[in-house]
Every structure is written in structure tokens, then in C-alpha cells.
């Protein structure tokens, strides 16, 4: 392999990035040293196994990655704004669309989703932590260092450029020599292992860690959506891991799974990667559905309409999503029989999704609706997802797909469901649960500015792309000539689309401003129940103490906290004498971080085919596993006195003691 260009050279934007990376790193190091924060960083964050802190770290990283992916998007839109543009070199353009897709799905959507899992699920089911807190920390650090491994590729070694799913044979050694493609493989392989662990963790947490009185049929819908999504993770992430391992064997050891020669079958790559890739989009959208179910019920002051059908439709989506993957490659020509089966399955999946939308609308019907920030994002989601879903059904019609395939029509469709569904959903969730985790409400005024710039930007950006698709513009097109630009009318639509992308970027800046402003000046929530909520997370103080529930809550049915509040108002609520017991909690550990660092070293080594470094990293991984196996001091008890002290402090701090006991 050609390693002569260890540092990427030649492009002034890359040099700019080099300089800014060095300056930011220096600033962070100086800050931490000057304020003597290294110990704090290590004790409070790097070694933490607390699900709330891990959730916060997931949230921060995903917002950071949203910025990186967003910059990629804006660069692409600038390149395409006018015909015959040479703003980016063609090679650089390929790299940017590759990293944009990879980062947005795997390093923005997935961690944002895990942030919500971690911040909400244990609180919602009355648990004190996830089932495997240590494993949870391992998951986070594997994700984080996997993401960093992919991200350094644009200054060291060169970015991958074979598209976000790196179709073989383009991603094989013959056509993609050099370390870029290896960065892609190892970055997402390492973080994918972390995702699989999180899936296991939350399935077990939801099945085993609920407060003893909570039956599955009383569980809040967000937790149900996490269960459905986690089961889908268990089903497909092993395929992902195995498929990446096969490509690794091809590239590193000279295998022929997906090569053009030696009996390889490149289409098998497409088949396998979409077996993971399609369920993956349902994995990320299901929790967004869960978020909306909580928000609509809370802000309509009604219990959710059709709880059972909501649960059933989520489970149906997570199962049927396994049987739709071929619709990504109808044009492969597997024959009418294959295509029709998968086309029908794809259309079927629209039914449970439609059921959910109707249930949300019926929940709002005759409800006492409050238009808050989370509710705004929900109301933006409905029409957006509806149009996205309808264009999806158009694409699902196999014969018609031969026309739309890989055109800008497709680009517009999947951005509409992924932004309109996933991003709007997660942002709604962030606005909804931010007061719970941080004890701060996000500023309303800045939030509305962000909301409207996002909304307008979205439609200005993506509606023209449907038209561009019909006009014949294909995805991943680097530039177009002036005949296409002016005579065929591509240029004006592309220009409009670029304006929309900038508007969304401004929306994001508003959100960053909003978060920073609110941390400093935002309204403090001292009640623990910022929105007059219905589920258990609102029954404890904000931010919750480290053990969440001083006493495990008693659940008498759905929307447990809502009915308890009603009983409290009527005065019929029997407050039992508070009797604390010592709480069993896990110890912090530095091993998850060190293990992930070893994985990073291994990944970096194999990326450059430096076997000594790769093997050294793997040995490091085994040493950390070994060390953990012989660690016996892994947990501790919080004493009754300490619980009393904490609870009294929370009460005196102004927050009314409203724990469900």
C-alpha cells in the first residue's frame, strides 16, 4: 500500500482544518491544565458508568458530528450550486459525500438515539441504572473512538471515497488503494461493536430492570420503541460486523469474497450490507416514534390513543423491516419474483406506520394541546414524514423504481424521512428531556428561530431535488455542464436547494446558541416535572440523583405518575412512611476507555497495514478484558445516611419532594 502521503496535502481547506484542529486541541489542553481539570475529567466523565452521564456524552458527540456532517453537506451544496463548478476537486467531492453519509447515520443518528436511550429509559421504567453499566461505558467509548478514527482520515491518510456503503468492487484494493477505505472499515466496525452491545444492554434492561410493579403492558411507549429498536439491532448488527470482516479479509489478506476475479461476487456485498442497512433506518426511526408518543400524550393532556396498536405496530415494523432490503437494488435484476416480494413487503410496512400517525392525531383530537417546543417539532414531523412516506411508496413500486433509482428523487426521499422523521424526532426528544437531565429549560425564543429556519430551510433544500430527480440528475454527480444547467433547468433548482442547506445550517447555529444561552440564563426547573408529565421520569428531581429513585416506585397502571398526581390532588393518595435501604451501585472504571483506546490503536495499525501496531492494539484489548475478569471490587452500596442527605439537599434546594413513594 502506498503510505507515502501520511498527512493529506494539497488542498488549502485541509490545511485550514489542520490549523484549526491543532488550535482547538491546544486550547482544550491549556484550559484543562490551567484550571486543573484533568482529574475532574477522568473521575467524573471518562471513568463514569452512570447512564445519565454516558447519555450526555453521547448527546455532545452526536451534536459535534451533526456539525461535521453538516459542514460536509454545505460544501457539497456549494459545489453543486452552479454549473461547471470547481469549488471542490472531484476526488474531494467523492470523499465528502462518503463521509457525510457515514457520519450522519452512524456517528450522528446512532449516538443521538443512544443518548435518548441512556438519558430516559432507566428513569422511565423506574430503574437505577442499565442492566450492564460497565458494558454501557464500553459501548460509548467504542463508538467515540471509532468515530474519531474515521474523522482523522481527512487530515491523516485521506478520506474514504467509495460512498457511504462502499459498494464492492469499488471498495476493493483494485479500485480504492490506500488507507481511506480502511479507515471507513475500522471506524464503523469498532463503533458497530459498541452499538451491538448497547442493543443487548437495553433489551435486558427493559425486560429485567423494570420496577417490580411495572408490567410490560404498562410500560411507556418510548421504552417500547427502544425495545423494538434494540431487538432489530440484535438481529442485524452481527450481519454488519461479519460483512465488514469479509471486506477486511479481501483487502488485508487478499481474499475474494467481493472481488471481480477469483470467484468473488460483488453483488453479495450489496445484498449483505443492505440486510443491515435497511433495518438500520428503522432502528433509528422507531425511537423517534417513541419520543413522539410521549410528547403528544403529555402536551395533549390525554393518554395515548390506541396504546396496544402502537405497541403492535412498532413490533410489526421491526419485524417486517427485515424483509425489505432488496428495494435498495431492484435494478440489480434479480428477476420479477424477487422484486415483487420485496416491493410488497416495503409497501406493507407503510401500514403500521400509518396506524401510528393516526393514533397520534387521535390523541390530539379534543385534547388540551399546548404548543411547546417539542410539540412544534412533532407538528412539523407529521406532514414531512407523510410526504417522505408517500414518495417512499412510489420508490417501492419496483418497475417505477427503474426510473427513480439513484436519482435526486431518491436523495430527496430519504432526506425527508431521515430528517423529517429521525432528526425532528430526536430534536423533539432533546427539547422534551433536556429539563429532566440538566434541570434547565431551553430558551423558547431562540428555539422558535431555530425551528422556523430549520423548517423553511428543509423544504427549500429538498423539494427542488424531487424535481431535479425527474429531470434526470443522478446522485453523487460531481458537476454538470451549462447545457444541463441552463437549457435543462438544473442550475436554478440547484441554487435554490443550496440556499435551503444554508438555512438549515443557520438553524443549527441557532440551536447551539440556544443551548449555550440557556445554560447561562435559561429558566431553571425546580419542580422535577417541567411539562406536567405522565411517566415516571417526571416523578424525581431534575437532574436526578445518581441513584435515580431513592425508593423504587410503585406502578398501578399506564401513565403511572399522572394518576399518582391525580390521587395526590384528590387527597386520596396514601403517603407511606419513607424507609430507605442501602442502594447497590456499580463502581467507576477506567477499563472501558482504555479498551477503546486499544481498539483505536489496533484499527489505526490495520488501516495502514502496520501489522505490529494492529496486533499490539489487539493484545491491549485482551489485556483489558483479562484485567476486568479478575476485578472483584466492582460495586458499592450507598448508605442510608447518604441517601437521606442527598434527598434532603434536593428538597431544600427548592425542588418539591415528589418521588413516587
Amino acid at each position: 500500500m502506498d503510505n507515502s502521503h501520511f498527512f493529506v496535502t494539497g488542498d488549502p481547506m485541509i490545511y485550514g482544518a489542520d490549523v484549526s484542529i491543532i488550535l482547538v486541541s491546544l486550547a482544550i489542553i491549556i484550559y484543562l491544565t490551567y484550571f486543573k481539570k484533568w482529574g475532574w475529567l477522568w473521575r467524573e466523565w471518562i471513568t463514569t458508568v452512570d447512564h445519565k452521564k454516558i447519555g450526555i456524552m453521547y448527546l455532545l458527540s452526536s451534536l459535534l458530528m451533526l456539525f461535521r456532517g453538516g459542514v460536509d453537506a454545505v460544501l457539497m451544496r456549494i459545489q453543486l450550486a452552479v454549473p461547471n463548478s470547481h469549488f471542490l476537486a472531484s476526488e474531494h467531492y467523492n470523499e465528502i459525500f462518503t463521509t457525510h453519509g457515514t457520519i450522519m447515520i452512524l456517528f450522528m443518528a446512532m449516538p443521538f438515539m443512544f443518548a435518548l436511550f441512556n438519558m430516559v429509559v432507566p428513569l422511565q421504567i423506574g430503574a437505577r441504572d442499565v442492566a450492564y453499566p460497565f458494558l454501557n461505558a464500553v459501548s460509548f467509548w467504542l463508538f467515540f473512538l471509532g468515530a474519531m478514527l474515521l474523522n482523522i482520515s481527512f487530515v491523516i491518510g485521506g478520506s474514504p471515497n467509495a460512498g457511504w456503503l462502499s459498494y464492492a468492487p469499488l471498495s476493493e484494493n483494485d479500485f480504492s488503494p490506500g488507507p481511506g477505505q480502511n479507515f471507513w472499515i475500522w471506524g464503523i466496525q469498532i463503533s458497530g461493536i459498541g452499538s451491538l452491545m448497547t442493543g443487548i444492554n437495553f433489551v435486558v434492561t427493559i425486560l429485567k430492570m423494570r420496577t417490580p410493579t411495572m408490567r410490560l403492558r404498562d410500560m411507556p411507549l418510548f421504552s417500547w420503541s427502544v425495545l423494538a429498536s434494540s431487538i432489530a439491532i440484535l438481529g442485524v448488527f452481527p450481519i454488519f460486523t461479519a460483512t465488514l470482516a469479509m471486506l477486511t479479509i479481501d483487502r488485508l489478506l487478499g481474499g475474494h469474497f467481493f472481488t471481480m476475479t477469483g470467484g468473488g461476487n460483488p453483488m453479495m456485498w450489496v445484498n449483505l450490507i443492505w440486510m443491515w442497512g435497511h433495518p438500520e433506518v428503522y432502528i433509528v426511526v422507531l425511537p423517534a416514534f417513541g419520543v413522539f408518543s410521549e410528547i403528544v400524550a403529555t402536551f395533549s393532556k390525554k393518554r395515548i390513543f390506541g396504546y396496544a396498536s402502537m405497541v403492535f405496530s412498532m413490533i410489526a415494523i421491526s419485524i417486517v423491516s427485515y424483509y425489505t432490503w432488496v428495494h435498495h437494488f431492484f435494478t440489480m435484476g434479480a428477476g420479477a419474483n424477487v422484486n415483487i416480494v420485496f416491493a410488497i413487503c416495503t409497501m406493507i410496512i407503510a401500514i403500521p406506520t400509518g396506524v401510528k400517525v393516526f393514533n397520534w392525531l387521535f390523541t390530539m383530537y379534543r385534547g388540551r394541546i399546548r404548543i411547546t417546543q417539542p410539540m412544534l417539532w412533532f407538528m412539523a414531523f407529521v406532514p414531512c414524514f407523510l410526504v417522505g412516506g408517500a414518495t417512499g411508496v412510489m420508490l417501492a413500486a419496483a418497475p417505477a423504481d427503474y426510473q427513480y433509482h439513484n436519482s435526486y428523487f431518491l436523495i430527496a426521499h430519504f432526506h425527508q424521512v431521515l430528517i423529517g422523521g429521525v432528526v425532528f424526532g430526536y430534536l423533539a426528544g432533546m427539547y422534551y428531556w433536556f429539563p429532566k437531565i440538566f434541570g434547565i429549560k431551553l430558551n423558547e425564543r431562540l428555539g422558535k428561530w431555530a425551528f422556523w429556519t430549520w423548517q423553511i430551510g428543509f423544504y427549500v433544500c429538498f423539494m427542488p431535488q424531487y424535481a431535479l430527480g425527474f429531470m434526470g440528475m443522478t446522485r453523487r454527480m460531481y458537476t454538470y455542464n451549462s447545457t444541463m444547467g441552463w437549457d435543462m433547468g438544473w442550475a436554478p433548482l440547484n441554487m435554490i436547494s443550496t440556499v435551503g442547506a444554508f438555512l438549515m445550517g443557520i438553524g443549527f447555529i441557532f440551536q447551539v446558541w440556544q443551548i449555550l444561552y440557556s445554560i447561562k440564563h435559561g429558566e431553571r426547573d425546580v419542580t422535577g416535572d417541567a411539562w406536567d408529565g405522565r411517566t415516571l421520569e417526571w416523578s424525581i428531581p431534575s437532574p436526578p440523583p445518581v441513584y435515580n429513585f431513592a425508593i423504587l416506585p410503585v406502578v398501578k397502571g399506564r401513565d403511572a405518575w399522572w394518576y399518582q398526581k391525580q390521587e395526590m390532588q384528590k387527597g386520596s393518595y396514601q403517603k407511606e412512611a419513607v424507609k430507605y435501604e442501602p442502594i447497590h451501585m456499580p463502581n467507576n472504571s477506567g477499563i472501558p476507555f482504555l479498551m477503546a483506546v486499544c481498539f483505536f490503536i489496533a484499527g489505526f495499525g490495520f488501516t495502514f497495514e502496520w501489522w505490529w501496531m494492529g496486533i499490539a492494539g489487539l493484545i491491549g484489548v485482551f489485556i483489558t478484558l483479562f484485567a476486568r475478569s479478575f476485578q472483584y471490587n466492582t460495586d458499592h452500596f450507598i448508605s442510608v445516611e447518604e441517601i437521606e442527605r442527598t434527598e434532603n439537599a434536593l428538597r431544600n434546594h427548592g425542588s418539591i419532594h415528589r418521588t413516587a413513594n
Binding site: N271, M275, A334, V338
Partner: protein, 101 residues
């Protein structure tokens, strides 16, 4: 934690290990010595694989453990559905390869 309910013991692990090795060696010997025709060979290899899967479930994966809801069995059924989908689906979809060549 109490381990009383676990069916595992050193003996069980060793038995499972030996059975797994035997079931791995059989197809290897069959292939290396060209002892069968193609169809018979494929069936034998698949049979050994399925048997080894069962051995691992019983001796290593504690499939018989636990009480209450049968999560083990449910997970197993789900896993089998996934595997059948992947293998049968991929074979079916990729059969176009022989048609176009």
C-alpha cells in the same frame, strides 16, 4: 451471585468441547479425502453444522437455565428466523447470477 441453577460444570464444558471438535473434524475429513459426491457432501456438512449448533446451545449457552418467561427459547426462535432469512434470502436473491451467466 448463586450458580446453583446453572447446568454447567467442568465436565459439561469438556464434553461440549470434545463433541464440537469431533463435529468439526468429520466434515474436514470428508472434504480432504473426497469421500462423497457433491450433494451428499453438502448435506453432511450442513448436518454437522446444525448438530454443532445444538451442542453449543446445550453445553455452552445454558439454554436449559432460568425460570419465568422463556426468554432463552424466544431469543432462539427469533435468532433462527433471522438466520433462515439471511441464508435462504441471500441464496434466492443471488440465484439470478446463474440465470444471467
Amino acid at each position: 451471585m448463586s450458580n446453583q441453577e446453572h447446568t454447567a460444570s467442568i465436565k459439561a464444558y469438556v464434553t461440549g468441547f470434545i463433541l464440537s471438535i469431533v463435529l468439526t473434524v468429520i466434515p474436514l475429513v470428508l472434504v480432504l479425502n473426497h469421500m462423497m459426491g457433491k450433494a451428499a457432501l453438502t448435506v453432511s456438512i450442513l448436518l454437522a453444522a446444525v448438530l454443532q449448533f445444538v451442542v453449543q446451545l446445550f453445553f455452552f449457552m445454558h439454554i436449559r437455565d432460568g425460570e419465568g418467561p422463556r426468554y432463552n427459547v424466544m431469543a432462539l426462535i427469533l435468532g433462527i428466523i433471522f438466520v433462515v432469512t439471511i441464508v435462504a434470502g441471500a441464496i434466492w436473491i443471488m440465484s439470478f447470477n446463474s440465470q444471467v451467466q
